[in-house]
Amino acid sequence: MIIANNINKKFGKLKALDNVSVTCNKGECVALIGPNGSGKTTFIKSILGMVVCDNGFITFNGKNILHDWKYRSAIGYMPQIGRYPDNMTIGQLIDMMKDIRGKSGGEIDEELIGSFGLDLMLHKRMRTLSGGTRQKVSASLAFLFNPEVLILDEPTAGLDPVSAEILKDKIVKEKAKGKLVLITSHILSELDDLVTQVIYMQDGKLLFQKSIELLRADTGQLKLSKAIAAFMLKSK
């Protein structure tokens, strides 16, 4: 579904992405793992076309995403730090997104808005929200249009345990519907029961892309966190 082919991106002298090639298919849940500053977010943003790659190409459903924009209607994106217009209320923001994506989005999925209790504070302005509530808004917006692909950048960072659990259940539910879920996280333990594929990045380079079974077999560890640790030790 998403194929990245030898993409490179430089920010000044820093190589944020160095020859990254990745393939993600439908129905998978791909975990994007790597230390801080390894290029995970840059990679995600280049899939969304928010970062324009220096060379290499990305295809979405077989079409090059460069100069294309319609493919984004099939993506729900939850940014790491959700930044929204300060003087808009939650309600206005949701209405605006519905208005903008309305036709192309298909059916509307407001489940998360309800389960996060956002429907009770629709009148609150974005600038008054706490970091966690902002994350809840980001998550609700990502799932709102029932997209085929979910791209979640550190989805549970800043969420309280209850909300994190709600979000995880929702991800499992959507994955079961055969959607592609691309997820980055530092908390490896919460990825254990979700993930089918693991992409490991370091210093902008792709170190490996493996299915979780293969990774478990290679390292002899059942837990993802232990398997990654074992891999890192081995590669040193």
Binding site: F11, K45, L48, G49, M50, V51, V52, W69, K70, Y71, R72, S73, I75, Y77, P79, R83, Y84, P85, D86, N87, M96, M97, D99, I100, R101, S104
Partner: protein, 255 residues
């Protein structure tokens, strides 16, 4: 396009600055027309103020607005929208609100007191200046990432066009006073939209008869329809070029 435009215009209108600007222009125009004994003299005073105030407010407001809507732009960029559409919607939103504000603030009083070709020229050139300086502000905003530097650049740009440029031209004139510079001067004014607008309006007034030989050359060029068309075209170019370059840069910009 229409949907984003709607949100941009609503956002700008919620910001009271545009309303304050309109009221300021209204008070200014009415007081000038009431102070001067003849309305054509009023037009002249108004022209001088409009040429300073309109570019400054347009360029500052537009650049600050674009910098402040960084979050909004970021949100839109992850949605199924063409980048060009997003950028041009912001431009059109600024353009519509600032032009309406100018027409209400200066256009209405001018039409009430001085319903003439001069009045019309003043309104048209004010509108064009508004759009030109919004376009320039958007170019700076897409080029310079840092807000403080961007606003600084925009202020310098305004200083250059309204003060420094004239100084440079005067310097040039004195350095080369032995040569006939009247005709090159016509071309040089094309490099500054503010000067171009000033000349366009001044030549529609009676006082242009007293501007000496250069004035005569200018009158010869700008006085006829061809010259007028060329200067309008140059002003339009001052809009199209910056906005076109900024669209191209925005298409490659990383967020």
């Amino acid at each position: 396009m229409k949907k984003i435009l709607k949100y941009v215009v609503i956002d700008i209108l919620r910001n009271k600055i545009v309303l304050a600007y309109t009221i300021f222009l209204l008070i200014l125009s009415f007081s000038i027309f009431n102070l001067e004994d003849s309305s054509s003299k009023g037009i002249l005073s108004l022209l001088n103020i409009v040429l300073i105030v309109v570019p400054m407010v347009s360029v500052l407001f537009a650049s600050i607005y674009v910098y402040n809507s960084a979050e909004f732009l970021e949100l839109l960029l992850s949605q199924p929208l063409r980048r060009k559409t997003i950028w041009l919607s912001v431009f059109s939103g600024l353009l519509i609100s600032m032009v309406i504000s100018f027409v209400a603030g200066v256009g209405i009083p001018v039409l009430l007191y001085e319903f003439s070709v001069t009045g019309f020229t003043l309104i048209i050139s004010g509108i064009l200046l508004t759009i030109i300086f919004i376009a320039l502000a958007m170019l700076v905003a897409v080029k310079v990432r840092d807000k403080a530097r961007g606003i600084g650049a925009v202020i310098l740009l305004w200083l250059y066009f309204s003060i420094l440029f004239d100084g440079l031209v005067l310097f040039l004139l004195f350095q080369f006073e032995d040569y006939p510079l009247e005709k090159p001067m016509v071309a040089i004014t094309a490099l500054n939209p503010i000067d171009l607008s000033r000349i366009m309006v001044l030549l529609k007034m009676d006082i242009s008869a007293m501007m000496g030989y250069t004035g005569a050359v200018f009158r010869n060029f700008f006085g006829n329809a061809t010259g007028m068309c060329i200067s309008l075209l140059v002003l339009l170019l001052w809009i199209i070029l910056p906005i076109w370059i900024s669209v191209r840069m925005f298409n490659r910009k990383d967020v």
